[in-house]
Symmetry: C2
Subunit: 334 residues, 2 copies
């Protein structure tokens, strides 16, 4: 088959045969844990007897990305990374994944190869193997990845935050949504922002180390700081206070929006960890973050109640916000 | 929220909160194997130390079904059943599943509830729990289910057929594609055919018992007898001979098409098992099928070479067919 043939010419089965051979060849380092890899009705993997963590997330053309925003390889990698971030948010170690793709028949075999290879490479970089999947025709390009991981200790949960816990976030906030603001205007974002949207960093090692140190509560920021803090509060039956002047902002975000509140608070898809940490663990976890070279910033605290309060730079509250469905971006712009 | 509100009014998070509560409440009997169920970043399940089998399959509106062909509950159940059939084809015991749905914002909360409940109920009927998933907006309704199972012995593989093996199929062939032929003409199929397309029977118990008896080779018929026999042959490096007059046909299919070759040979989505069985096991497996009350018919044999031969009722070959990409339905109509 010629690589730039559309899928309708190559045929699903010829394409899948070639793909399975390629994926199996790349799985030497995983072979002890894969009894049957791609190509059979299902994959057989051999876990080590630990609890398994499983998650699924979809990227839909026209909803999560537009044609042209990402190369096929970047798109495949992004499908892997956003799911690995969910495994990180459970303190799990990734092991395997399945990728279900729907694509128009005009999609080229070469593009699909690049997409799947990009996905497999991103998984492999974090210790996981692509062991199977599904390919369907559809007018829309969608990627639905299911990732499986093992738990080597206690997980990070959403329902264990307690009043008095300090709130920490890894990395910086708002970069991905700042990048999106360019993309939505059909402009190329500055590369430093674009790469943060295209290739989020699943905080796998940080999460495992923190969970090992006794941190019990955390999630990854996919819907935005305000919404995800609301999720944490609702699951734990608590409220939270976020300090605007403590939000970690990259220089690129700060250059666009001095206090970052247009991007850092409502903006989704940062895939950083939000952690609720009991005060006696604070010194230990900042030490772990320093060891790993991963920025970790205290941005607020868990309080009694059920509201998420935003504190301005002057220490004045900006008013409570109850959650996503009642949330309008303008409300958090002081 | 009112049940007939569109999803855009109910809001993703309010819907998911209610859904997670409902799913968790239904999981009493699975609770020993579920450490964290729906609602966190990912689910944590506790397998029993056996090899795990995982598979994913998608149903796409306009490709696999049209609006109106299936109720939301039937659609959700079908997503479960076609994946459970893949687990059956590995002789695995289903344990857990994740469901990723994309739906237009006009889709009603009530419809989505019915869809997910239908999926969870079909899984529960076969011993598996819905432990998580994903919900995205999209112009198209799609369901991508990922099912996980455990292997209690050897799996059924595709690459272990040997010349001399006898080919068996469970159930009857062509019912689903006969039903589809009505649906594609916007006619209601006879109920006996419709139910075979809407609710395929994953042959889980039969597969596990046969694998336990020493059968090593099998797959489920999703693409159609001819195409799937080709898959088996290609994976095993063998050929096959199928006997037209041995194909098991339901009375309903026979009434539409005397020899069933219009439906039974090319028709997909039967989700019956195709098995290659060494001759010394034949007596044992027919006994098992009789015990279970599941029809099992010998329909041909594995031969040297790489071709799938069709033998007519008079014992005359109808000519070799090499596979799907070269396959045209007219070719197998004698």
């Amino acid at each position: 088959m010629a690589d730039d043939d559309p899928l309708s010419d190559v045929g699903e089965h010829a394409f899948l045969d070639a793909l399975c051979r390629r994926l199996r060849n790349g799985q030497g380092r995983f072979s002890l844990r894969i009894a049957i890899g791609p190509g059979d009705d299902a994959a057989v993997v051999w876990p080590s007897g630990r609890p398994l963590v499983m998650t699924t997330d979809a990227l839909v053309e026209g909803v999560h990305f537009r044609s042209g925003w990402l190369s096929p390889a970047e798109l495949g990698a992004r499908a892997a990374l956003v799911n690995l971030s969910d495994l990180a948010a459970m303190a799990a170690e990734p092991t395997n994944a399945l990728l279900a793709v729907t694509a128009p028949s005009s999609f080229q075999a070469r593009q699909l190869d690049a997409l799947i290879d990009g996905c497999a490479a991103a998984l492999a970089e974090h210790g996981a193997a692509l062991v199977g999947g599904n390919l369907s025709r559809s007018p829309l390009l969608t990627l639905t990845l299911t990732a499986i991981g093992e738990l080597h200790g206690e997980p990070l949960r959403r329902d264990t935050a307690r009043p008095g816990d300090r709130l920490f976030v890894s990395g910086t906030l708002g970069d991905a949504s700042a990048a999106l603001s360019f993309l939505l205007r059909d402009e190329r974002p500055p590369e430093v922002l674009r790469s943060r949207w295209v290739s989020p960093t699943p905080r796998l090692e940080l999460a495992r180390r923190l969970a090992g140190a006794g941190v019990r509560t955390g999630l990854d920021l996919s819907d935005g700081l305000l919404v995800d803090t609301g999720h944490l509060c609702r699951a734990s039956g608590v409220g939270a206070r976020l300090r605007l002047d403590h939000l970690p902002l990259s220089a690129a975000v700060r250059a666009l929006d001095g206090r970052g509140v247009g991007f850092a608070i409502p903006g989704g898809e940062d895939y950083e960890l939000l952690l609720a940490v009991s005060p006696q663990l604070v010194e230990r976890i900042t030490g772990i973050a320093r060891d790993l070279g991963t920025p970790l910033h205290e941005i607020g605290e868990i309080i009694e109640g059920s509201k998420v309060e935003l504190m301005g730079e002057d220490g004045r509250p900006l008013g409570p916000v109850e959650g996503f469905d009642h949330f309008h971006q303008a409300e958090v712009r002081p």
